[in-house]
Amino acid sequence: MSSIRRLVIDLLKPNEIENVTFARTIADLDGVEGANVSLLESDKDVQNLKITIEGENIDSGVVTTAIEDLGGTVHSVDEVVCGDRMVEESSTHQD
């Protein structure tokens, strides 16, 4: 089974757990080389984040568990890149 090299996740999390904590926790997971956390939306209690994770062999189950342990909920997995090399999204006429 080919390994996951990039994962882009849209999630909701409580404000009280800092974005830095999310980024650090995910970046420290096995198979992950780096993580980018971007704030999409914020209200009084919760924030909507987009997390981009890159690595040689990302375990999506472990990532989801780590997010849930921190109190986050995965809304959607917006991008997955698998295989020996990183393939970027290609544009289509509809774009």
Partner: protein
């Protein structure tokens, strides 16, 4: 264990946790200090108690106030933090039991309760230190005066600290709280009987 300590360290830096703990510490510290000033002045004026009897009365009061501080805050913060958690859970559309946020709120509650109990413990025990020197270096009168002054000093420190925190003049803020100790002592002196 080390991750638990790291979480605790992170929590101790959290301004919300610090702010709530500070309020309980100072508020209950105030209660404890003023109660002790009242007890020692009243006991001295009563004239029938030995120094160790006064120490025992204040120590008993300390247990009561510290237990009240810990217990009440434990329950208050349980309710407050559960309500906060429920508000977040409603927005998240999921339960948060067992998550880092849930644990964090539990740990914050422990810190709040501990600081709430520590305030009156310090506030009540420090002013009775001079009574341990009665018969050695101090008379009952001077032990009482020293006890009141320690209490006033503590109240001054509480006020100065809050003044410093809020960018007020710490000296004025300290004097404003310190004088309450003298007022309590004064009221005890003019009480009938």
């Amino acid at each position: 264990m080390s991750s638990r300590l790291a979480d605790l360290r992170e929590l101790l830096k959290d301004e919300d946790v610090r702010s709530i703990s500070r309020r309980y510490f100072i508020s209950n510290g105030f209660d404890g200090t003023l109660t002790t000033i009242g007890i020692i002045v009243g006991s001295f004026l009563g004239g029938s108690q030995t120094s160790m009897e006064i120490v025992r009365v204040v120590a008993g009061g300390t247990v009561g106030l510290a237990a009240s501080g810990v217990w009440s805050v434990w329950e208050i913060e349980r309710a407050e933090k559960l309500a906060e958690l429920k508000a977040v859970e409603e927005k998240m559309l999921t339960g948060l039991e067992g998550t880092r946020l849930h644990d964090r709120k539990g740990d914050a509650r422990k810190i709040n309760a501990a600081m709430s109990g520590l305030g009156p413990t310090i506030g009540m025990l420090l002013p009775i230190i001079p009574y341990f020197f009665v018969g050695v270096a101090l008379s009952m009168f001077w032990a009482t005066v020293a006890g009141v002054l320690i209490g006033v000093g503590l109240l001054f420190v509480f006020g100065a600290y809050m003044g410093n925190l809020s960018d007020q003049n710490w000296l004025v803020a300290g004097l404003r709280t310190g004088v309450v100790g003298l007022v309590v002592g004064g009221i005890n002196i003019i009480l009938p009987g």
